[in-house]
């Protein structure tokens, strides 16, 4: 006790008063469980090592979910039927589409591919069925490996494969915001699949094209859309869902005033306002639908403009009025639960909500309508693009066989099959308008004309996470009360530092 130098302090005290044995004995007498006890001793050991350890410790803290997480991972819809019959075709899980390119692919017979596919649920089952059919028809063996479920871990796993130039993965699913970061390590598909690419939505192909290289084939899509309560709109005399943001504001206000008496928890409009990737997606829609631009365009930072200031201040005004104050902490699931619990008139979310909100056990199942997100007069209706692509690693030992597998997997036939049986949103307009697909996903029709906007991940490549964080942190500050005119110049300055 007399020697108080920092390096001596803790061990000294422990030796005098709390020798480990003593702690153990006392703890045992207290009836502590072994795990709790070892945790306590581990904690003691950690502190004994003096605070100089701190800097080394900080970076290794395990994130549960990092900023790279995108809200685009498709969820398995509840109660998807396993057999659907249309006049021409019967769709079932054990009958995947015919391998149309079998002749061409058979020349690589004997090759073995490792494919990082869907991790859980119906997506994983479909991967197995499709890979099985492809192997049987071509003689190319496919190992289907479920990719890590968390997008952050998935990203990190690919980063490790690529920095080791590993041939252990040939074909992989990549998120819509990753092509820019991974482009140097992916095979250019524009020669082999350029013709097929023309059938897909142009924005997604553009998103997947980095410096003229087509680095991924779109596989299934995602976009932001507006869910609304058909019964409430009718009750308050609105015949159509809102066209403009101002209309949405008025409708939400009217419905809110009427419903608050019966349900004090009622909210007009809920969206994703937490400081995370989802807010970047929401903010992109707000700006792109009101003339506020797309954060970064043609290498120029454009986020700080009068329309963006006006729109973001308008959204700030919603928080605590038509939107609950807690909306600045909501992610997809929080906002879905509020809407599905019957506590909101409008919701901005992804297509996965549709099958859940109209499912058997949903309290609002017969009252859900879907519309494009509103746009200010003179601006297009937009939806932020999410979704997954299939890409081929540059370090693959059998790139030709891998390309044939991608050709099959992203074909209209397979996309139709996956749309009908798994509710995966097709990336090919022709597929999206097929009757059997529209029957499974009726919301696709009103969304047809919506302009799909992409986050600036291609231009900013491996620094996209940083760009997105700067944007959602700034927008979150605005939502929690700061003036957009004060915040946006700082946001633009930070972005400028990255864009250069």
């Amino acid at each position: 006790m007399r020697d108080m130098r920092p390096d001596r302090l803790a061990p000294d005290l422990l030796a005098v008063r709390f020798s480990r044995r003593q702690v153990l004995r006392r703890a045992a007498a207290l009836g502590l469980s072994v795990p709790a006890l070892s945790a306590l001793l581990a904690a003691c050991a950690g502190e004994e090592a003096t605070p100089t350890q701190a800097p080394a410790v900080q970076p290794t803290a395990t994130p549960t979910e990092a900023a790279a997480e995108t809200p685009t991972a498709a969820e398995t819809p509840a109660g998807t039927p396993t057999v659907i019959t249309t006049p021409e075709t019967t769709y079932s899980m054990d009958n995947p589409p015919e391998v149309f390119n079998a002749d061409q692919a058979s020349q690589y017979s004997g090759a073995t591919l490792t494919y990082y596919g869907d991790s859980v649920g119906i997506g994983a089952e479909m991967d197995q069925a499709l890979a099985g059919a492809f192997s049987e028809a071509t003689g190319i063996t496919i190992n289907v490996v479920p990719k890590p479920e968390s997008a952050t871990e998935n990203y990190a796993a690919y980063q490790r494969f690529f920095s080791a130039q590993s041939p252990d993965v040939d074909v992989m699913m990549i998120d819509v915001i990753w092509p820019g970061a991974f482009a140097p390590h992916l095979v250019d598909l524009s020669q082999a699949l350029g013709e097929e690419a023309k059938a897909h939505y142009e924005t997604i192909i553009e998103n997947n094209t980095v410096d003229g290289k087509l680095v991924g084939m779109p596989w299934f899509g995602d976009f932001g859309m507006l869910y609304y309560r058909t019964d409430l709109l009718e009750k308050y005399g609105f015949s159509n869902p809102p066209e403009t943001w101002d209309e949405l504001e008025e409708m939400a206000q009217t419905i809110l005033e009427g419903e608050r008496g019966a349900n004090p928890n009622f909210a007009g409009f809920v969206f994703q306002g937490n400081a995370y990737e989802g807010l970047t997606c929401n903010a992109l829609e707000w700006l792109a639908s009101s003339g506020g631009g797309r954060f970064i365009e043609n290498g120029q930072v454009t986020i700080n403009n009068p329309q963006a200031v006006e729109m973001l201040n308008k959204v700030r005004g919603w928080v605590g009025t038509i939107a609950p104050q807690g909306v600045t902490t909501y992610q997809e699931e929080d906002s879905r639960q509020v809407f599905q619990g019957g506590n909101a008139a409008f919701l901005r979310n992804w297509p996965y909500v549709y099958s859940l909100a109209t499912g058997e056990d949903s309290p609002v199942r017969d009252m859900v309508g879907v519309a494009p997100l509103p746009a200010q007069p003179g601006n297009p209706h937009v939806g932020t693009v999410g979704g997954w692509q299939l890409a081929v690693s540059m370090y693959s030992r059998a790139p030709e066989a891998a390309i044939e597998f991608v050709r099959y997997m992203t074909s209209p036939e397979v996309q139709t099959w996956r749309a009908v049986l798994g509710s995966f949103v097709p990336t090919i307009p022709d597929v999206a308008s097929r009757p059997e697909v529209l029957q499974a996903m009726p919301f696709l029709e009103p969304m047809e004309a919506v302009e799909r906007v992409t986050r600036p991940s291609r231009e900013t490549g491996e620094r996209y996470n940083e760009v997105s964080t700067i944007v959602f942190q700034g927008v979150n500050q605005i939502l929690t009360g700061q003036d957009a005119a004060q915040v946006l110049p700082g946001v633009a300055q930070r972005l400028q530092r990255i864009v250069g």
């Binding site: 980063q159 940083e466 979150n476």
Partner: protein
């Protein structure tokens, strides 16, 4: 450890030959070093080298997974850090959180330790039960509290409305004025048992004879607490305070689960994690780590000096 002059020229000879000419004290000194060597090597490998590397990277633009080698950028990382308002917000939030939680955890922990130190029926199960919050992984308990704090379906708003304390739902985690209180109370709920356990261990080594003697001398319970319990508990208190302060300054998980990367509710550790993991910016991240180290060092020095002053008076 003076050596006979005649041994001087043999210093370069084989260790084994020198061994025979050594005195016992010399041999013991050598043996001590030999036995320490594995531990020293481990410390150098797992602490010293990474620390030196962190310091070096903090002067570079090192990035994870970058194809080209890092460049020396001098003090540029530190210059940006000092000018970044988000960093200073993170420092402020972390320090506020530390002061609130450590103070309340200590007071409540002491109270609980005194209670469970006295004899009452069911004391054993009680001591085990109070550790439950502390035994739950923080990530899980934080998520649980996040749901309880939810403004629409959270149980806390529901309870407060039932007893009539509030009329409108409160968005505890969204409002800037309630966020810190909300997160601090989770940490207090979770860690007070740990502080109580440390203090309880300290209480149990105080011999009963002292209290008996004090009672004979006519000292009442309050007098006994201030003249016997508190002074003898001092070592345990110091350990508890230092443990908790350092832990609180490095807090990550509960903030990360509750607030993600929300700019006004980041701690220093969340700020660092963002740059190192999410942005792969190891150079700047290392500069942040060094800065966090300095902030924690200030607290340690403050503790040690104030406690020393008390010892002397």
């Amino acid at each position: 450890m003076s050596r006979p002059a005649i041994a001087e020229p043999r210093r370069a000879a084989l260790p084994l030959r020198r061994w025979r000419t050594m005195t016992l004290a010399e041999r013991q000194a050598w043996l001590a070093w030999l036995f320490l060597l594995p531990a020293l090597l481990v410390v150098i490998a797992v602490a010293m080298i990474p620390l030196a590397q962190t310091l070096y990277f903090s002067f570079t633009d090192k990035r994870l997974g970058a194809l080209e080698p890092e460049q020396w950028v001098g003090l540029e990382n530190y210059r940006f850090l000092l000018s970044d308002s988000l960093w200073w917000t993170a420092v402020k939030v972390t320090v506020q959180f530390t002061v609130i939680t450590v103070a309340l955890e200590f007071l409540l922990g002491l109270l609980i330790a005194l209670v469970v130190n006295s004899r009452f029926p069911g004391r054993g199960p009680m001591r085990a039960a109070m550790l439950v919050p502390w035994a739950i992984p923080t990530v899980l308990s934080a998520q649980m509290w996040k749901w309880m704090y939810n403004d629409i379906f959270g149980v806390i708003n529901d309870l407060l409305k039932r007893v009539g304390l509030i009329e409108q739902n409160i968005a505890w985690l969204a409002r800037p004025d309630t966020s810190l209180i909300a997160v601090a109370s989770i940490d207090i709920w979770k860690t007070t048992p740990f502080v109580a356990l440390l203090l309880l261990a300290g209480l149990q080594v105080i011999p009963d004879e002292l209290y008996e003697a004090a009672t004979v001398d006519g000292a009442n319970r309050i007098r006994q607490f201030f003249t016997i319990t508190l002074p003898l508990l001092r070592p345990a208190i110091v350990v508890a305070l230092i443990f908790r302060t350092l832990d609180a300054l490095r807090v990550f998980d509960v903030f990360y689960v509750l607030f993600g990367a929300r700019p006004d509710m980041q701690t220093m550790a969340v700020y660092a994690q963002n740059y190192i993991v999410a942005f792969s910016d190891v150079g700047y991240g290392s500069a942040i780590s060094v800065a966090i180290f300095l902030v924690i060092a200030i607290f340690v020095v403050a503790y040690v000096t104030t406690l020393k002053v008390e010892v002397q008076t």
